[in-house]
């Protein structure tokens, strides 16, 4: 989820956390994991990090510093031990003044909230949304199909999940642009210093609370058929959810629902634009799309990491991690760890086993994962049925935002009305082979 954003650490200092203070040459160096080139092509950098430091010391917004955990088995173990790696209020600060529900509630209290929320996002419940989701996808494709070009992020990736989610939650879709601005203010504030960033995030947080308070109070007076109205009459262990509980759920949804699917779609369309062979596979056999979604979630991991905080001194891969440390579980690295995956650096849409961690793992597994999967599948089906052949606009250099891999400027071009005629050798500044040949893994 967006709220599980990995940007807790911002400056990698390159020393392994093994007490030797060994300086690491080459990547990852200062800031390496968060620089634009790594965001564009992260898998080799993650491999380099795993090779030199299974646990990497980084600067942290808090006083105690943080670490990045990058090996698959360590990430899995960490996600499964919430008593040691807490996801509580202090794990990550994104403008909230109270713990976000359910992300920042640790077990055992966490269970009751998930028991309330899980059914709302179960595969059966989200399946009922498919006709509306498909209608929306078609409308957005209709708007650009004859143009032969669009900025995919602005034309599709941003409005599509935002509209689905605002409708579901019961927030006014007419204010979608304003809400997307709030979300961006939390996730990628245009700040140059840490202090500035914190001030901007907190100010945006205040604006989000103000909107949510306004809508929650309106639904309390006049209920509608939406999530917020439903939450207001929900009970946990015989206790009615408070106004603050409802707002704390919505704050998390607000960040998670507006951004993560958009980032995932950006990553997937950018991948498919650069890899025509893979694209042709799903065009020729749309039945392959669900598996292609899983494999691209693994490979791209649009939410690269989730943040925890150590509750006590512990050891990860032989490295001491002290109580209070912020711990980034680098899902993206785990998802391409060759110690776990066969052909880790090969993208294969027919892979039989794809037990990736793109939605996290353990008790905080992304609540919206089934909705996300539905949206991703339908988007890829509808887009490729109408626009099967496309490429990045010539000269494009993709800029992925580092914490959550959105591509704000994703210019795609295609030949309107001449499906399938675009050359597969269309050249751009991005190579089309790097993702399939195991670049950097030798």
């Amino acid at each position: 989820m967006a709220a599980d954003d990995a940007r807790g650490g911002s400056a990698v200092d390159g020393s392994a956390v093994d007490g030797t203070d060994a300086t690491v040459d080459g990547p990852p160096a200062e800031g390496a994991l968060f620089d634009p080139e790594v965001a564009r092509n992260p898998q080799p950098a993650y491999k380099a990090m795993r090779d030199v430091a299974p646990v990497l010391q980084v600067a942290d917004s808090g006083p105690l510093g943080g670490v990045i955990v990058g090996k698959h088995d360590d990430v899995v173990a960490g996600l499964r031990t919430p008593d040691v790696f807490s996801s509580g209020f202090e794990a990550v600060r994104i403008g909230q003044v109270r713990p976000l529900i359910p992300l920042q509630i640790d077990p055992p209290d966490h269970h009751a909230y998930r028991k309330l929320l899980d059914p709302l996002f179960s595969p059966r419940r989200v399946a009922a949304l498919e006709p509306r989701v498909r209608e929306l996808a078609r409308t957005l494709v209709d708007a650009v199909v004859d143009d032969g070009a669009c900025n995919f992020n602005a034309a599709f990736a941003d409005p599509y999940p935002s509209t689905v989610f605002l409708e579901l939650l019961g927030l006014p879709v007419s204010r979608a642009r304003e809400f997307v601005g709030f979300k961006d203010g939390i996730i990628r504030p245009p700040a140059t210093t840490a202090e500035q960033r914190e001030a901007m995030v907190n100010e945006t947080g205040r604006q989000i609370y103000a909107v949510l308070e306004e809508v929650v109070d309106a639904r309390a007076r006049e209920p509608r058929d939406d999530f917020i109205s439903g939450f207001l009459t929900s009970e946990i262990d015989g206790r009615r959810l408070s106004r603050e509980d409802v707002i704390d759920i919505c704050y998390l949804f607000f960040l998670a629902g507006l951004d993560t699917v958009a980032a995932s779609l950006d990553c997937m369309l950018a991948f498919l634009a650069r890899n025509p062979g893979h694209r042709r596979q799903i065009v020729d056999d749309p039945g392959l799309i669900p598996n292609a979604v899983e494999e691209m979630l693994r490979w791209e991991t649009p939410v690269p990491g989730v943040v925890r905080r150590a509750t006590r001194d512990t050891v990860v891969s032989g490295c001491p991690v002290r109580a209070g440390k912020q711990v980034v579980m680098l899902l993206a690295s785990a998802n391409t760890d060759e110690a776990f995956w066969e052909r880790a650096h090969e993208v294969d849409f027919t892979r039989e086993v794809v037990k990736h961690l793109a939605f996290g793992g353990g008790v905080h597994r992304c609540l919206g994962s089934h909705l996300a999967r539905l949206e991703l599948r339908v988007a890829l089906e509808e887009w490729h049925a109408r626009i099967p052949d496309y490429a990045l606009a010539p000269g494009t250099v993709l800029e992925y935002s580092p914490g959550l891999r959105q591509i704000e400027h994703l210019p795609l071009v295609w030949s309107p009305g001449t499906e399938g005629e675009m050359s597969e050798t269309e050249t751009t500044t991005e190579t089309t082979t790097e993702t399939t040949t195991g670049a950097g893994t030798a």
Partner: protein, 63 residues
């Protein structure tokens, strides 16, 4: 073949019933359930695939 799903480990990723719907189902919360602990011979490959795709390693097989 017998199959078991550990409810204390399952966190509802839904991979099992997605890749092997003949063997696994979803409950109302979206968590996995085993349709029949005794897997018919024809469904054994599906059962293995469902187990192998569980991100929480919650499914065990007894051949």
């Amino acid at each position: 073949m017998r199959i078991a799903l550990d409810r204390t480990r399952c966190t509802g990723h839904g991979r099992c019933y997605t890749v092997a719907p003949a063997v696994f189902d979803a409950d109302d919360d979206g968590y996995g359930v085993v349709r029949d602990a005794d897997v018919p011979p024809g469904d054994e490959p599906a059962a293995r695939r469902g187990a192998a795709n569980c991100p929480e390693d919650a499914i065990s097989l007894e051949e």
